[in-house]
Subunit: 95 residues, 5 copies
């Protein structure tokens, strides 16, 4: 999984019918120092994350292992909202 | 999923028989500011997207989770046409 | 899927028994302007492509969705020979 | 699989219910000379690895082939703690 | 699949039980001119490859399509030992 900050939302009316009801989040990727890397991904939201929150997302077939995304053409999912992490004994982020 | 603009189409007569009837789109990848990144992908079209439209595409096994691409050797599919997205409270694109 | 030109062939006598009979092609990756990018991949041939031809290849689990590659340790397959593509209304390649 | 050093841990209270009980590790990727590459990944821990240990991790659907991660939205797992490796006849790391 | 030279071996005593008995090889990736690219991967050995040999390896779920790696948390496998390949009519490598 990778770290990201929820930067915004995306709306798509015309889509695969199985994607109806899914919320799309625009994620900006973070490194372990809580700095944006410049990369992004659009992910389905499985945990009710809000704009500004720091999350973990999973990609590939693992992104379909939630009730919301099962058997859908979805390759990225927010599967956790991060409370805190530490690296080298130093806290890098706290919600 | 990633953002892309439909840049063109591709024709391949000699192909895996299971790919018959699929339309191939040439996609130019976009970043969250609606700028082309230089990357591309050739994707199957599951939503009837036209040249010039901004779309979401899924890759890997998730690209086979549409009726059109099920069990086919297809690793990228356009699964939504984008209406709008916003980042940091600012609208970055509207159809 | 990505574009590539068939650059050559590869022979491997000692291999997973399930790979017997598969033809290995060395592919040089192309961008949408039909220019080599410097990248390559070794792919199984599912369509009888010849050296010099421009092809589409699929990777990952999608590379196993052909009769030849089903259930085999193969992560790249040539699944179409390209006739032509166009980008921005301009024909970029014709066989 | 790739080499990494366990750099720290991550806590996420609000997450996919199936992820309950999994321990998240922050991994810094290593090259074959035991030097950090600058990359990272957050992985589930399947072997009881501690901070500072050098591990192997697997990604993608292979990350779900452990008892702990089966059918969960997890795309990276620590599946071994490394004792030693050598390259070109030279020992590069020993625990 | 990609080309690599077997550079060394890796030992991990504490690991997922299903990985018992698998041999881990440290692979240095090669380009089509038989030059090392600087990249590496740790792969399971399905063909009895020795240090110094040039091999093909498969990644992702395809790495689990051998008898040795089936259903195991393994995302890279050596599935062939290369005899020779040619590019542009020129032999680039012969064992």
């Amino acid at each position: 999984m990778l770290l990201a900050r929820v930067a915004g939302t995306l709306v798509a009316t015309r889509k695969e019918p199985t994607m109806d009801g899914l919320k799309f989040l625009v994620l900006r990727q973070l490194d372990v120092d809580d700095t944006e890397t410049g990369g992004y991904v659009v992910a389905a939201d499985a945990v009710g994350a809000g704009v500004g929150e720091v999350v973990l997302y999973a990609t590939g077939s693992s992104a379909r292992q939630t009730e919301l995304t099962h058997n859908r053409p979805c390759d990225a999912v927010v599967m956790a909202i991060v409370d805190t992490w530490e690296v080298g004994g130093e806290e890098k982020y706290r919600k």
